[in-house]
């Protein structure tokens, strides 16, 4: 087993465990933080396969933007009820054990990766930004266009489901309207 394979399997194990922890987390904030760990694990997996750029994207886009945004949303939604949440008391030691171990393993894995990079071990098949751009915008340009449509309807759907003014207007209409 090469060094990169070791990195891959450790990262994969961490990602799977963290994703499992997402499902069993007692409150939403913890779940999101586990998700963050899981995404870092996936990023390392990508890196060990030679997709350094994809790994960076994974961290910047998913961990950096989406999950943090998610965290903000949860914090904003729960702000009134925070006192009632017993779960949000400072965690006990055994509760801390899982995230700490996961994070430590991931850090060790990252250490191995850095060591491997310093020692010049590489998979010899790094996928560059150019290659990704070429594939996306030449071969899969229709897919990219369709993805933009997915984003558009995501936006429309969120707009529709989230518009409060419309909701009250509709309530009034419904009271005298349907039988």
């Amino acid at each position: 087993m090469t060094l990169l394979a070791v990195i891959f399997y450790i990262a994969a194990a961490v990602a799977i465990l963290a994703t499992g922890a997402v499902l069993f987390a007692r409150n939403a904030v913890n779940a999101v933080l586990y998700l963050l760990v899981s995404l870092f694990g996936v990023a390392l997996m990508m890196y060990s396969l030679g997709g350094a750029f994809v790994a960076i994207l994974e961290i910047i886009v998913y961990a950096g933007a989406i999950v943090v945004l998610f965290l903000f949303v949860i914090m904003m939604l729960n702000i009134a009820r925070i006192e009632q949440h017993k779960d949000l008391q400072p965690p006990t030691r055994p509760q801390l054990l899982v995230p700490v171990i996961l994070a430590l393993v991931l850090m060790a894995d990252l250490g191995i990766a850095i060591y491997a990079a310093a020692a010049g071990v590489s998979s010899g098949k790094t996928i560059t930004v150019t290659a990704i751009g070429e594939t996306l915008y030449r071969q899969h340009y229709l897919g990219v266009e369709l993805a933009s449509l997915v984003l558009l309807i995501g936006l429309i759907g969120a707009l529709h489901l989230g518009s409060a003014a419309w909701f009250t207007h509709q309530k009034e209409a419904n009271q005298d309207g349907t039988c």
């Binding site: 098949k125 290659a131 899969h140 449509l149 997915v150 429309i156 759907g157």
Partner: protein, 541 residues
């Protein structure tokens, strides 16, 4: 640059190649323009006049359909491949696109008069409807796993929002949520299958996938099972049917009609295309690969069991329904079962039969959901009690509903009968040719038995309409002239197809390509017929 890839084209030439293929994309670009226009114009309308934008949606459908009919002779001559084999426009996909557009057109017209949607902002609604149609058309045309999944997901996402469009209605929101949860699981399983498939094949193209089928492997069967989860979800086939009754009941009725016709047809279309080379049906450009006997039989058995379970379950549960939308939901599950049964026959006749059946099914289902909507508008209920004594309220309405139900049973004289007839003929044909004849004959018998079961609940509605006095508790149903005219047209079409089915059989034959041998495939957006190799881990710099 990726080595070994024939990307030798200059940027300019590559753009030109792409543009040249765009004439096949015109119909879809019109739809996209429609989506954007609907959204923008809706901003400038007051809530009360929001329904106006439906005209734009109708025009977009019409324009798209017209340009598709112009494309039809071209693709009949030779299919067009677009975007490095990502999309193929052959009669099959163009037929299904047209089918989706016509169905969407009807759904938009019924949405305009729907009381469930009255007083709402409709811009988003029509934009989502058109997006769903576009992605359904792409789903039927996709030749590439990425595009297949993307259009699958676009269709699902827009359907989720459409199902819960009336978000102040509890059941609407509930149904939408159920739909999302089921859809997420199904597409997750499917995505897992797709990634396994990519790992095995090393290519995203369906024709390479088909080549893989010729090598016997158990993991390939596993992939097929995983992918079936996604397809079965869209077809609402057992065991991925659980969402259907709740969503059909909770969604606004025009959306229900849309889901039962377009969404289901898209699921079947993509499955038919995906499975064609493996089942030995030469669907246009695809090469037929001999699947090893055992693997083919295993796959067919899977379909066999799925078909049997789907139709039996759908029909048995439908017997006990009292809500018309739920009843039609279970009936549509049963119909998915019949069509799956035809696919077991895995011959050209089966493909034609499914296409034919879908037209008959679509007319009946669109009509019946519209009838349910009309009755609900006056009586305020979707209960079958609302149908009681309908013949006294409006003879035309009652008679039309009776004809449509008759067609769903599959009794002559109706299009449904011809559809079922062709399905069974396909199975019997295969049975005669095959060494395991009983495998097919038993399926025919099960389907026949199921038709008899379905007789009971369909006739039950006709009986309610004809032989009972209208309930005095409910107001009288007074459908508008347009509603009666529309339903009578649907009923007339159903009978007309029975009397003169030749055009439709010709069309289904042309759509599945048994008449037109493919001389050449026009490919645009690619230099050699081989695309650049996919970005795999093994690619050297």
């Amino acid at each position: 640059m990726i080595s070994g890839a024939p990307v030798t084209l200059s940027l300019e030439a590559s753009v030109l190649e792409t543009l040249r293929g765009f004439y096949a994309l015109w119909p879809y670009l019109i739809l996209v323009a429609g989506i954007l226009l609907v959204l923008v114009v809706d901003w400038f309308q007051s809530s009360a006049k929001s329904q106006r934008v439906s005209w734009i949606a109708l025009l977009a459908c019409l324009g798209s359909a017209v340009s598709l009919t112009k494309l039809w002779p071209t693709v009949l001559d030779r299919p067009v491949l677009l975007g490095w084999n990502a999309l193929v426009f052959d009669p099959f996909s163009v037929f299904f696109s047209l089918f989706f557009l016509v169905a969407t057109f009807i759904v938009i017209t019924t949405s305009r008069t729907s009381k469930e949607l009255a007083g709402r902002r409709m811009g988003e609604y029509y934009a989502l409807l058109l997006t769903a149609t576009l992605s359904a058309a792409f789903l039927a045309a996709s030749q590439n796993l990425v595009l297949l999944y993307l259009s699958f997901e676009t269709l699902s996402l827009s359907s989720y929002v459409l199902a819960g469009y009336a978000k102040d209605r509890r059941e609407g929101v509930e149904s939408s949520l159920k739909y999302v949860l089921f859809g997420a699981v199904a597409s997750g399983i499917m995505l897992y299958g797709l990634s396994l498939l990519y790992g095995m094949v090393g290519s995203l193209e369906l024709r390479d996938v088909a080549k893989m089928a010729s090598q016997p492997s158990l993991s390939f069967l596993l992939v097929m099972v995983l992918l079936m989860a996604g397809f079965a979800f869209k077809m609402s086939a057992v065991p991925f049917h659980f969402w259907a009754p709740d969503v059909y009941q909770g969604a606004p009725t025009p959306v229900t009609a849309y889901l039962s016709v377009v969404s289901k047809a898209a699921g079947f279309a993509v499955f038919l295309r995906f499975a064609a080379p493996m089942l030995g049906v030469p669907l246009f450009s695809q090469a037929v690969e001999e699947m090893p006997k055992e693997l083919l039989f295993a796959f067919l058995s899977l379909l066999w069991i799925l078909a049997t379970l789907t139709m039996t379950f759908g029909n048995l549960v439908a017997l006990r329904q009292t809500d018309i939308k739920r009843l039609l939901a279970y009936s549509s599950i049963a119909h998915a079962g019949y069509m799956l049964a035809a696919i077991v026959a895995h011959n050209q006749a089966a493909y034609e039969a499914v296409v034919f059946y879908f037209v008959a099914y679509a007319i009946a289902n669109l009509g019946l959901f519209f009838a349910a909507q009309v009755i609900h508008a006056d009586k305020g209920t979707f209960d079958i009690a609302g149908f009681r004594g309908l013949v006294h309220d409006s003879p035309v309405l009652a008679a039309s509903i009776a004809v449509l139900l008759w067609s769903l049973i599959g009794l002559p004289p109706s299009a449904g009968f011809m559809g079922k007839f062709f399905l069974f003929v396909a199975l019997v044909k295969q049975g005669i040719a095959s060494s395991i004849a009983s495998f097919y004959y038993v399926l025919v018998l099960i389907a026949l038995a199921n038709s008899v079961i379905s007789l009971y609940y369909y006739i039950g509605i006709i009986r309610q309409m004809a032989f009972y006095e209208p309930s005095t508790m409910l107001p009288v149903c007074r459908p508008t002239f347009t509603a009666r005219f529309g339903l009578a047209t649907a009923a007339a079409l159903i009978v007309a197809i029975q009397l003169y089915w030749q055009p439709l059989t010709d069309l289904s034959r042309a759509a599945t390509g048994s008449k037109t041998p493919v001389r050449a495939v026009a490919s645009y957006g690619l230099v050699n017929s081989t695309p650049p190799r996919n970005l795999a881990v093994g690619d050297q710099q």
